[in-house]
Symmetry: none
Subunit: 290 residues, 2 copies
DNA sequence: CACGGGATAGAACGTATATTCCCTAAATTC
DNA sequence: GAATTTAGGGAATATACGTTCTATCCCGTG
């Protein structure tokens, strides 16, 4: 216990800690590592990679076990520590161990910290908790309401489509953009409806039964979305709706709709469930098309 | 693959036990401890209480440090281990260390377990499960890693900012767009960096210390993001990073970064955690500004 | 091609740690 | 109340570990 090494306090703390966000020793270590990484010899780079990849091993292992895993000599490990400003390996390991300790401490008290209901103005942790719960709730609801057959039908329809039109305004717009991003990456032809205001109908002048559309709309359903949805149905475009109730105005005649309940927190809808479902559709269509 | 357990089973357990039938060493240890607890001598009871209360100390400490903390003699610690069926203290400690190791691997391999090796096409429900699990895992990881003080510091910085610059390319772009949408709704001045390719730097020619920036980047960090991040730092723009490791190249000198691990499924990253955190930041800043 | 400097590997050293043994104290039984 | 058994404390011992030193190798340089 009696570690009489002075443990060079300045070793890691001489970095600009300007403001309230104090750099943890662990972060400071990595900061230093990044700075000197470029000029490091081969074996030390090997070690640098290893310690960033397996920080837990560093905390729990011994010099020789790490040396073995990283493919270097034990003495190199010590040299690595000294190069980074520690008095020896043990000093460096202490940083990694403290991180493990700390991590589990925050894990322990986070519940009490987050659920503080003492009427104080909303602090960050409370707001986070709200969004977190909303997302979890939405995901759970999605999982329990999802009907596999419907999902399969939706995938089949989309897979057969020539071009997939995407419709979702206001709060659903970010989800649509995300879907568009996914489809682009998967090289699936698609088109967002309504990027330019007022020109929405022009987006699907050529659309027909050979295509398909995904429509997202949650209460209160944007009137413009309903309009555009009806225009799509009028053109006999097969529509897959993602909405939150059987009474929704965007449920297609085919009955092909997927139930998604987005819990909201302070008026902001967590789009977690929509994002997951939309990812599923994109990946499944890509898979189906091969 | 014997794992077709519905995910809500695993959702609430603290430790990702491989299976209900196959107890982890750590759980087995506690089971044994409970059985023999009643007939234990005084000092050993003292130790039993200590190891259940502070398992991390057992994993990280030495015989004498534990003896000191528990108020017994070092030799008693060894006797304790032997009484519980270990060959010595080190054997017992190994169990506690393995537990620490396992804790942090949880989400890594779980999703990949869904990748079917038999070459069969994945059906919709399977794909959905993958994305669903990835999202849940990301959210859980976010909750356990989030440091409330850091979050507060980030909110404070953003609240004080004149204009908030948003940076995140490729896979992070959808999240940035979503954040932009939120900020627009909340009437908070902001600017996305890099909407037009090649003209990114022009987006922040007027940026300075009075502003702030949010940078999203996950492995493998897009080189262009790193470049732009450095340019921001060079202009002394306070940067808040959302990234996945202390070794990330986009961690600002201020140390103001938030840890986010996005589990991915089939190469697609669930952005669930990022979305939740980004919503939190937007709402908290709005709240702070009143 | 020769030389010098630094990086690396391997071995030797000293220390800290777990372990073991033994003695003392306490408790239980005859 | 004495003897025997069991728990606990303390010190000695063995081992594993980090550290340091030195010889060798590689790479760059004159």
């Amino acid at each position: 216990m009696g570690r009489d090494i002075p443990m060079d306090e300045t070793a890691l703390t001489d970095f600009p800690n300007d403001d309230a966000s104090e750099l943890s020793d662990f972060d400071a270590f990595h900061h230093r590592l990044r700075l000197s990484y470029a000029g490091l010899p081969r074996r030390l780079v090997q070690l640098a990679d290893f310690v960033t990849r397996e920080p837990d091993e560093v905390a729990l292992g011994t010099v020789s076990s790490l040396a073995h895993q990283a493919g270097v000599q034990p003495s190199t490990v010590v040299r690595f520590a000294r190069t980074l400003g520690f008095s020896g390996f043990s000093d460096m390991q202490a940083v990694f161990r403290d991180r493990l300790r700390l991590r589990n401490v925050t894990y322990k008290d986070r519940v009490s910290a987050l659920h503080r209901g003492d009427g104080q103005p909303l602090e960050g942790a409370t707001i986070f908790n709200g969004f977190f719960e909303a997302a979890m709730e939405s995901l759970r609801a999605l999982q329990s309401h999802l009907i596999p057959e419907r999902l399969e039908a939706a995938i089949a329809t989309l897979s057969a489509a020539d071009c997939i039109y995407l419709l979702g305004l206001r709060r659903s717009m970010p989800v649509i953009r995300y879907l568009s991003y996914l489809l682009a990456k998967l090289d699936i032809r698609h088109q967002i409806i309504g990027l330019e205001t007022g020109m929405e109908e022009e987006s699907f002048t050529h659309a027909g039964p050979q295509d398909a559309a995904i429509v997202l709309s949650y209460t209160a359903y944007a009137p413009r979305t309903i309009e555009l949805f009806r225009a799509l149905e009028a053109r006999s475009v097969p529509v897959i709706a993602m909405t939150d109730s059987a009474a929704s105005p965007v449920i297609p005649a085919s009955g092909l709709w997927l139930e998604v309940h987005e819990a909201d927190f302070q008026g902001f809808r967590s789009n977690a469930a929509s994002m997951v479902l939309v990812s599923t559709l994109a990946a499944a269509v890509a898979e189906r098309r091969g």
